[in-house]
């Protein structure tokens, strides 16, 4: 009984739209040793990303593999420290936080990984997997832990008899439900979803996306949704951040990004996403080449070797921030300005 009171109290404290995370110019660099005498080289996995997360809102991070979106997730979940910039979660500054403060914060940010086949321990029963976060972080009794785990299973649409089963007895969709339930056990305020549906079939993907939406509403959670599937992003996101080679290239509300993308990379991504309509005619921008190595990024605008509109200036200067049509983009020649000057 006490439990439920606490829950309702906690829920009442949460107002939709309340800012729960502020990231300012986050960087995450790795040193790559070059032998005993060589100077180590720096790999800039994330190089200056700024965003905020609000309760009840979803920020989607989009980009190709190697663009730093998973590293960003690791920094936000405090698996890895940021090497620069500031990160504030709730009212705590993560960079200067003490160990005990960090420990408390970690339960506030939880993550659901991409591959539900790899993220669950095959030797651990579902019940034990769900109770483990409570065992480590709280001093609830065994009975209370089991009660909480069972309640959470019901929340995510698992049946009570699943409590004593092993992960191999479940399908991909159900495993992802288990992973989501486990992430919710500590009553977090931020959920980081690292490509939660990319390993699932379409019909199962729809079930999981629906579940995520329900849970967001019920618990007023802030989502950081990492994906490369733009049709999923369009469905679930409120804000979108497009990343390329560790740096955001365009940021804005979902509607603005999908209606009038400004950065050529966003345009190319949108046009490369297959649309399930054989009768629709569209122009496709096919990018040549692949993502360059982040150890030796191209000078100037990092996108210029693949950009269909690259000019001379792009090879020399880092592009400035542009605010056009409701989106923030980093480009010398955003689409709108280009079409205006052409007219």
């Amino acid at each position: 009984m006490v439990e439920t009171d606490m829950n309702s109290q906690a829920k009442a404290d949460r107002k939709a739209g309340e800012t729960v995370l502020v990231a300012d110019d986050i960087k995450r660099h790795y040193e790559i040793p070059q032998g005993a005498f060589g100077k180590p080289r720096i790999l800039k996995a994330v190089d200056g990303a700024s965003f905020t997360l609000q309760r009840g809102q979803t920020l989607a991070v989009v980009g190709e593999s190697g663009c730093g979106k998973s590293t960003l997730a690791r920094v936000v979940t405090m698996i890895e420290p940021a090497s620069g910039g500031s990160l504030r979660i709730g009212k705590t500054d993560v960079v200067n936080a003490s160990r005990s403060q960090l420990a408390a914060l970690r339960s506030k940010v939880q993550i659901v990984f991409q591959n539900p086949y790899g993220s669950l321990n095959p030797r651990q029963k579902i019940g034990a997997a769900l109770e483990e976060p409570l065992l480590v972080n709280t001093n609830l009794s065994k009975k209370q832990r089991e009660a909480k785990a069972r309640a959470m299973m019901a929340e995510v649409g698992l049946r009570p008899e699943h409590y004593d089963r092993y992960p191999h007895m479940f399908s991909g969709g159900q495993r992802q439900r288990i992973a989501i339930a486990r992430a919710l056990m500590l009553d977090p305020s931020i959920l980081v979803l690292d490509e939660p549906t990319s390993a699932l079939d379409v019909s199962i993907q729809a079930q999981v996306l629906n579940l995520l939406r329900d849970i967001q509403k019920r618990y007023n959670l802030a989502y950081l949704f990492i994906s490369h599937d733009l049709s999923v992003v369009r469905y679930i996101a409120d804000e979108v951040m497009v990343m390329y080679l560790g740096h955001p290239v365009e940021q804005g509300s979902r509607d603005a990004i999908f209606a009038s993308p400004q950065h050529p990379y966003t345009k190319a991504l949108l046009s490369a996403t297959p649309v399930a309509d054989p009768e629709g005619k569209r122009e496709r921008i096919v990018l040549t080449g692949e993502l360059p190595s982040p150890i030796a990024p191209p000078p100037g605008c990092t996108f210029h070797p693949r950009c269909p509109m690259a000019a001379d200036i792009c090879k020399r200067l880092v592009p400035p921030v542009q605010r056009v049509c409701g989106t923030t983009s980093w480009c010398h020649r955003p689409w709108e300005a280009e079409t205006e000057s052409a007219a």
Binding site: V202, R213, L269, T273, P274, P278, R284, E290
Partner: protein, 327 residues
């Protein structure tokens, strides 16, 4: 004459708990220059049916068919030695995960040359040149250097291009692509699909595309076959399928796409594809179907006519409404 033709192909696996029918009476014809897509969720038998055609299944699999011909030649009665002359040369396959399908112990050049050695009488130097030419053809930069690279030195997109280069090494007449872009990023996916279509057009090649991505189907295929739990549930040309799906499963699959969502909730299909032990009696889709009625649980449906997309359903849909409900 059609390129590949088979009727009533079934594959049964011998398991400890008795036989399991992974593919159940599937038929297919592919013409030169045509792209046929086979769609379905995992476990629907789309890969297995094509592996059966290639003869790549383990001995536990029992493959039966009424008819299986390639360019008019009967492949069922063909001797293995003759069959090996066709497989890899005239029919070739691109496998799903390039990183696990390529041998990590050999250079990619060696693996391409292996095919050429088997099927052509080119000299050693010619083979090497051809390998470089193939790598250039699939859009790998600096192919002279890459020919001596090992798979782990290349990215996923590059490895997939190597797989394609291997598959098209002997100018196949039929290419089976098993989820060729599933592991890749959208921008690379667009490049690979464009490449496949280009090769198809240049060589008048037949292309069988196995995928679960409806977007890829819509953009590349001419004809679509929808498979569910080993059965062919619908067959239509691509425009018809997306405009007016006749089988409830196809309709539900299309409705579940996030890009087609209209409301707050995505219309999902409850449950999962039945496995070996939970096969329902009657229609295999009945436990998940939203148009289900008594008969579906008892009787197996028969295939509807061509005008209804050969839908395997008691009440095929027309414009989203079930037909002959009274019957």
């Amino acid at each position: 004459m059609s390129l590949l033709e088979f009727t009533n192909l079934s594959v049964e696996f011998e398991t400890l708990n008795g036989g399991f029918r992974a593919v159940d009476n599937v038929s297919l014809t592919v013409d030169p220059g045509e792209v046929v897509a086979i769609v379905g969720e995992s476990g629907s038998g789309k890969s297995v049916s094509m592996l059966a055609v290639m003869g790549l299944l383990p001995w536990t699999a029992k493959v039966t068919a009424d008819r299986l011909t390639f360019q008019g030649r009967d492949m069922l009665s063909m001797r293995p030695k003759e069959k090996r002359k066709i497989i890899g040369k005239d029919i070739s396959m691109i496998f799903q995960e390039p990183t696990t399908s390529l041998n990590p112990c050999f250079t990619v050049g060696y693996q391409i040359i292996e095919t050429l050695k088997k099927h052509t009488d080119l000299s050693r130097a010619e083979r090497k040149n051809r390998a470089i030419e193939l790598l250039r053809l699939v859009g790998i930069p600096a192919p002279e250097r890459r020919v001596t690279a090992f798979p782990h030195q290349l990215s996923g997109g590059m490895n997939q291009r190597v797989m394609i280069a291997m598959a098209i090494a002997c100018d196949p007449k039929l290419l089976i692509a098993d989820e060729p872009t599933t592991a890749l990023d959208v921008t690379i996916q667009a490049q690979i699909l464009e490449l496949l279509i280009k090769i198809k057009e240049e060589n008048d090649m037949g292309l069988v595309l196995i995928t679960h991505d409806m977007g890829v189907v819509a953009e590349t295929a001419d004809r679509v076959i929808v498979q569910y739990a080993g059965q062919q549930v619908e067959q239509q040309d691509v425009k018809g399928l997306f405009r007016d799906p006749h089988h409830p499963y196809t309709a539900a699959l299309l409705a579940a796409l996030p890009e087609r969502a209209t409301g707050d909730q995505l219309p999902s299909i409850p449950g999962v594809v039945p496995g070996q032990f939970d096969r329902p009696a009657g229609c295999l889709f009945s436990p998940r179907c939203s148009f289900v009625f008594d008969r579906c649980h008892k009787e197996q449906p028969t295939q509807a006519g061509k005008e209804l997309g050969c839908a395997l359903c008691h009440t095929p849909l027309v414009a989203g409404k079930p037909q002959n409900e009274a019957a």
